[in-house]
């Protein structure tokens, strides 16, 4: 199997029938499910909405109008920039980063513990316990947090605190966005844990022993031995959590306050409320490109390869 990218060799290796089935499936996936939809979404976002044309504008011509709208807002508006949408965008990105870092801090000790302990029944059970919540619906998980944070005496925390007399008015966790951040962290925490667990598990315990015998302190062992080894896992965990929480829709819809939106909710509104798909596609592209750029930027800083992701 040296250079079977040339088709004849590919078919020779796999046989005609099997080879063409494999080829057809992979080609269908890459072309019709991955590439063309993204390209057509880009194309879509560069067209004006046919129901919303400016004077002299044609529906089939290219325009940057939808992107301009995100930055400058409607023409003739009092503000120079579309402050509302831009604020939502910035907030989404920053909050997603914060959630990612929070998850990293929360997961690292457990990943280390699980990865370094021998695979006893107890540890295996812990892993099962970790996986179970992940198979529960995203909506239901957000809903579970809503029950806890509900902003009246129905909410668990408010109910308990009011009963204990710590507060007399329910605290509005929803509008303070505490519920949202807790929900986002909750939704993707395992995607942070498992990649880290996998790489730490592959770390030879003798290395840590050796470092300890040489007199390295506890922090130094982590900084110089464990973290460099776990870097690909940490990177892939952080990438996934960041991308998914920036692109999350369920948690913001269920747990978000009335005054603060998540960027995906704007996209959702364009599609299901305003029915301006072109603008929605433009917003989605901005989200996609921004998150990819941010991820690549951080991968460059921390010197991680794309191939490490997903391992």
């Amino acid at each position: 199997m040296k250079k079977p990218m040339i088709f004849s060799e590919f078919f020779k290796n796999n046989g005609v029938v099997l080879g063409s089935i494999l080829f057809f499936l992979v080609a269908f996936w890459i072309i019709f499910l991955i590439l063309l939809p993204q390209i057509s979404m880009l194309d879509y976002s560069l067209h004006p909405n046919p129901l919303n044309l400016d004077a002299g504008e044609r529906a089939d011509e290219y325009t940057l109008k939808n992107y301009k709208y995100l930055i400058f807002g409607p023409e003739g508006a009092s503000d120079a920039f579309n402050k509302v949408d831009l604020m939502v965008f910035v907030r989404t990105i920053i909050a997603a980063m914060a959630v990612t870092v929070m998850n990293l801090i929360l997961c690292y000790p457990l990943a280390y513990y699980l990865g370094q302990s021998k695979g006893t029944g107890f540890v295996r059970l812990l892993v099962v316990m970790l996986i179970v919540p992940y198979w529960i619906n995203e909506i239901l998980r957000a809903f579970a947090l809503r029950i806890i944070f509900a902003p009246s005496d129905n909410g668990l925390i408010n109910g308990i605190m009011m009963k204990m007399g710590m507060i007399d008015q329910p605290y509005d966790f929803i509008n303070a966005d505490i519920a949202l951040y807790a929900g986002l962290g909750y939704a993707y925490i395992l995607l942070m844990l498992f990649p880290m667990y996998n790489v730490i598990e592959s770390l030879d315990r003798n290395q840590i022993e050796a470092a300890r015998d040489m007199g390295a302190s506890w922090t130094r062992i982590h900084r110089r031995v464990v973290i460099p080894h776990a870097k690909p896992g940490i990177a892939s965990g952080m990438t996934m959590v960041f991308m998914l929480s920036a692109g999350a829709l369920a948690a913001p819809q269920v747990l978000g306050g009335t005054s603060s939106l998540w960027f995906t909710q704007l996209v959702y509104q364009w599609f299901n409320g305003t029915l301006n798909w072109q603008a929605g596609a433009a917003y989605a592209i901005v989200l996609l490109v921004a998150s990819i750029v941010i991820v690549l930027f951080f991968m460059k800083i921390f010197k991680v390869n794309m191939g490490d992701i997903g391992k």
């Binding site: 029944g121 995203e138 909506i139 579970a144 920036a246 369920a250």
Partner: protein, 445 residues
């Protein structure tokens, strides 16, 4: 040194408690709300233990329809994404080394693309294809779009599972089969496929679960076939009642049951293979395994719950609770009434003083029918406004309403007082507070 270790242990324990509390606590709380009779899912005013929400759940047409759609979508997604994932993983080892990382990046990308973007791009693309072909109905069908959209990224998950398994495959086996005269298809069916079977099974389960719980992609593609997740999101957003929690309990129970069963099964096969030894002092059917014990406990709980659900009725408790709450409400109302009576007494004294003043004013000048309505009394302002506009012809110099805050009755008396007053009002200007648009509208007439 010893205290240091002890401290470390305590810190680890606390940390575990926080982590698992965060992870499992919300699910436990949600599970408990399914058994509380309060109409809003909550446990903090605990009312009565009840099973009614489960009954409610199975009566809900939309939920049942959603489950049906979810199964159709899940089935389609499993078939499509498992076969694509398998093909992609087989191709991965054969792609020209130079292109391998590009190829890998492309097929791993769907995991990282936000689900929202995948949903939108699928919708937009197939809409375009259908339009350019002159409107092909099935391409705008919700099931078709949802299956394709979900398979886009679920195939990547499956691919990862297969790649992991393929690393342990010995290609010599296939080569041997080919040398012995098997066709490629035969070698695939008899050698590779049996080897991949465990991976196919776990990829299929993974794909089904991922499809079943997907929301972000489906919410753009479902069309007229809402899946269970979509229905749940509608219920959560627009009308919450604990039957959602009941559904969650069922899903959690099935998941835990499945996970434990897999764990027990795995343990058993490892035990047979002699990799581990059974613990001493426990009956052999338990294998000394925590998972088995939990599994048995869980089964007992479910059986016990289902059987008590037939006979248990929370009516008495509910009646008691209602009574207790009625008493509480009555006490509250009485307290409120007492407070209001006190406030009333004060207010009438105050308003008695103020109502005199406008009558004098009106008598002397009749200059304006000013309505000094306090904020949040829209009624009063509206009446005042009406009166002042009609007052131009016959009577009413002013529709002056000096209503004390929060006393709607007072505004009424304000009106009746002003009605019989002197004729000829020059203008029915209404000095309303800013947030009363109604009255300002009528005064313009």
């Amino acid at each position: 040194m010893k205290s240091n270790i002890l401290f470390g242990r305590i810190a680890l324990g606390v940390y575990f408690l926080i982590f698992f509390g965060y992870l499992i606590g919300p699910l436990v709380v949600m599970g408990m709300t399914a058994f509380n009779s309060a109409a809003f899912p909550s446990i903090t005013p605990w009312q009565c233990f009840t099973y009614e929400w489960f009954g409610e759940l199975f009566k809900d047409e939309r939920i049942l329809n959603g489950i049906k759609n979810s199964f159709i979508v899940g089935f389609g997604t499993v078939i499509l994404s498992v076969s694509i994932g398998l093909a992609a993983s087989l191709v991965l080892t054969q792609v020209w080394a130079k292109w391998r990382s590009t190829y890998y990046t492309v097929i791993i990308a769907p995991i990282l693309i936000p689900g929202v973007v995948i949903g939108i791009s699928t919708l937009v693309f197939w809409r375009k294809v259908s339009d350019s072909l002159g409107g092909v109905a099935f391409m705008n069908n919700g099931l078709f779009l949802t299956i394709l959209g979900q398979s886009t990224f679920i195939a990547s998950y499956c691919m990862l599972v297969f790649v992991a398994r393929l690393q342990r495959f010995d290609p010599g086996l296939t080569e041997a089969a080919l040398d012995l005269g098997a066709s490629h298809t035969q070698a695939f069916r008899k050698i590779l496929l049996p080897f991949m079977r465990p991976a196919i099974a776990s990829a299929a389960v993974l794909a089904f679960l991922a499809s079943f719980e997907n929301y972000n992609t489906t919410t753009f593609t479902f069309g007229s076939y809402p899946t269970l997740t979509i229905e749940l999101s509608q219920m959560v957003r627009y009308g919450i009642n604990p039957s959602i929690s009941a559904l969650a309990v069922i899903i959690v129970a099935i998941t835990v049951f499945g996970a434990l069963a897999v764990e027990v099964f795995r343990r058993r096969s490892r035990l047979k293979a002699g990799e581990i030894k059974p613990a001493k002092g426990l009956p052999s059917w338990l294998f000394g395994n925590i998972a088995t014990i939990l599994l048995v406990l869980l089964s007992f709980t479910v059986i016990a719950m289902v059987s008590t659900a037939q006979s248990y009725s929370p009516q008495q408790c509910k009646a008691d609770f209602k009574e207790a709450r009625d008493i509480e409400t009555r006490l509250k109302i009485e307290a409120l009434q007492a407070a209001r009576a006190a406030a009333n007494a004060e207010a009438t004294a105050a308003s008695g003083a103020t109502t005199d003043e406008p009558v004098e004013q009106g008598g002397s000048s009749g200059a304006f029918g000013g309505v000094f309505a306090p904020t949040n009394l829209e009624d009063a302002a509206g009446q005042g406004g009406d009166e002042s506009s009609s007052g131009a012809a016959p009577a009413s110099p002013f529709g002056g309403v000096f209503a004390p805050t929060n006393l709607e009755g007072a505004s009424g008396t304000g009106d009746s007082e002003t009605a019989p007053a002197a004729p000829a009002s020059p203008f029915g200007s209404v000095f309303d507070p800013t947030n009363l648009e109604d009255s300002s509208g009528t005064s313009g007439n």
